[in-house]
Amino acid sequence: MFLTKLPAPIDIHVHLRDPGDTHKEDFYTGTSAALNGGISAVFDMPNNKTPIFTEESLREKENIAKVKAVCDYGFYFGSTGKNIEEFPKVSERVVGLKLYLDQTTGDYLIRDLASIRDVFIKWPKEKVIVIHAEAENVSLVIKLAKESGNKIHITHVTTKADLERIIEAKKMSLPVTCDVTPHHLFLTDKDAVELKGKGQVKPSLANLTDKTFLWDSLSWVDCFSSDHAPHTEEEKNSPSPPYGIPGLDTMIPLLLTAVKDGSLEMDDLIQKISTNPHKIFNIPVDKDTYTEVDLDENYELKKENLKTKCCWSPYEGWQLHGKVKSVYIRGKKVMEDGRILVEKGFGRNMML
């Protein structure tokens, strides 16, 4: 058996729900799911139950992660435009800022132009602003970034129209980067009907034309991110299911399957899960951090092999090709064949 090395894969978009919703996920189960899926570092979003809008809430989250995480991690700061005075206190402690211009779980929207502009001006230019924006909002933030000179990253791009907007900006060499999620690459609105509550996610699963366009235009996409957003099965099966799909356990295996069937190049996969995220967030690649995968192993994805606390996946029963065998972080083997080999608290905050 020959193992292939993936250098330091980062998932730049996860929701580990800790603190606030630890019945869905916590820092231990979430970072275990990351290792299980071959990810050595995760960047956690600020939309906790009590959002990370203050230095105090950020420090509280840092302290919780410090004793629970088994992989490395970084945090985003959040803003609705009313906490700009916090920026200088936190910007060095986080990987970036996250703005929500379109609907997601919870009430974190920033919509008015004056506030967004103000945030752009006050946030340090060298640090990236990750943005959930759809449709016209994509054009809006690109325009603002052009004016202000901020680095922006549009996360979970879903539709042909939105990716086209980003491609136009990239052709003009604007400082815009973007990512796509596995669920928008592997699922469509047809699957959403089948999956019922479990297929509810923001941005919604799109149609086949959009999905095909994402695949055909992957060369313009900078990163893959899971947008790991766990909710319990009970919540997802309820009459008003919350938005979100878990993806940490499954992102790399799905992408390896795409490498196997020829729809993705191995070099491209490494670019988008490691090289580019390190570049965008200005983090050096640690040569002793890597994931070993067996490209030839064929297996069925089963619930019992997941490590996320919510313990379900839209890909249950899928035949996958390419298995994560082990993960090394800073020279230490931290995961092998689904077993976590380090104690809680091994993971480090990459910004501290």
Binding site: K171, M172, D216, S217, W220, D267
Partner: protein, 311 residues
């Protein structure tokens, strides 16, 4: 699929069929997987490749050397053949006989048109043409077609733009021929009038029902191209330096031209470039010359060597 390459020389793209090309592409895919997984295979253990270059070559030369090593074989590297026994007056047919007794396969680059096939007549082992004069460069045509095939679902609906020196640029001759065999129906040739594609190639392509557009202006045609294949316009081809300066500037690929190009297009260049693609283009996702083209050269040359040496 049948291996029609076994124990035969590869001199010209003319003798290659569509099926033969697909055979090489499939083999290249397989070998690529092996290289990604293990770095090498041992398929050609004990086989020796002689790489003989009668004119300067660094990329093609080293890509063949890397290819045979990654297949587990050994090599005789002679870059600068003009300084060897050749300088003492050895004939090309004698050189062919000598190296046939050492090597299992010979890769040859020579500045004189037709010299590779002359060499192959005297050689008793298969010979690969790695560029002869300004006529053909079949392995480059394979690797470029392979790269194009990776990016488009079919060859039938793409428009291939070849830009620069189309008269002396040997890569574009082999490439246009191979692409037409693979199903390409539309070509746009952009060159100074002085360096137009040779008429026999144009008429050959038209016989295969290809639609050919010839123009001097890259700016007005780039938006129609799916493949933007750039080549070097060499100074020494011009007698009037002012004419050269004028053309040189017209065929420099820069950001403003790339803004007019399709989002789904790809940019290729056989390299080395000498200013005809600005470095500002290198990070454009459509620019594949460093990102894929060179690497594919390795897999495709491995596939060609292996197909010739193993049934």
């Amino acid at each position: 699929m049948k291996n029609n390459f076994y124990n035969k020389s590869l001199i010209s793209i003319k003798s290659v069929s569509k099926e033969d090309s697909l055979y090489i592409f499939e083999m290249a895919d397989k070998l690529k997987n092996e290289v990604i997984k293990k770095g090498k295979t041992n398929d050609l253990e004990g086989k020796i490749l002689a790489a003989l270059c009668y004119e300067p070559s660094s990329r093609t030369f080293s890509s063949f050397i890397t290819a045979i090593q990654r297949l587990g074989g050994g090599f005789i590297p002679l870059n600068g053949m003009e300084h060897t026994s050749v300088a003492k007056g050895e004939t090309i047919s004698d050189t062919a006989k000598v190296f046939s007794s050492y090597a299992d396969i010979i890769v040859l680059r020579h500045p004189v048109v037709g010299s590779v096939s002359e060499f192959a007549k005297s050689a008793t082992v298969p010979v690969i043409n790695a560029g002869d004069g300004s006529r053909e460069h079949p392995t480059q045509a394979f690797l470029d077609s392979y790269t194009i095939g990776k990016h488009f679902k079919s060859f039938e609906n793409i428009t291939v733009g070849l830009v620069g020196d189309l008269l002396y640029g040997r890569t574009v001759h082999s490439l246009s021929l191979l692409l037409s065999k693979l199903g390409v129906k539309k070509f746009i040739f952009i060159s100074p009038d002085l360096l137009k594609m040779p008429p026999e190639i144009v008429s050959g392509l038209k016989m295969l029902n290809c639609e050919i557009t010839e123009s001097e202006s890259l700016d007005s045609s780039i938006g129609n191209m799916d493949i933007i294949y750039m080549t070097r316009v060499q100074k020494e081809r011009f007698s009037d330096i002012l004419v050269y300066e004028k053309y040189k500037l017209a065929y420099i690929l820069n950001k403003s031209l790339m803004q007019k190009a399709k989002s789904s297009s790809i940019v290729l260049h056989p390299l080395p470039r000498v200013g005809e693609i600005l470095e500002e283009i290198d990070s454009d996702p459509r620019a594949l010359y460093f990102r894929e083209e060179m690497r594919n050269g390795l897999y495709v040359r491995m596939a060609i060597i292996k197909s010739i040496l193993m049934q």
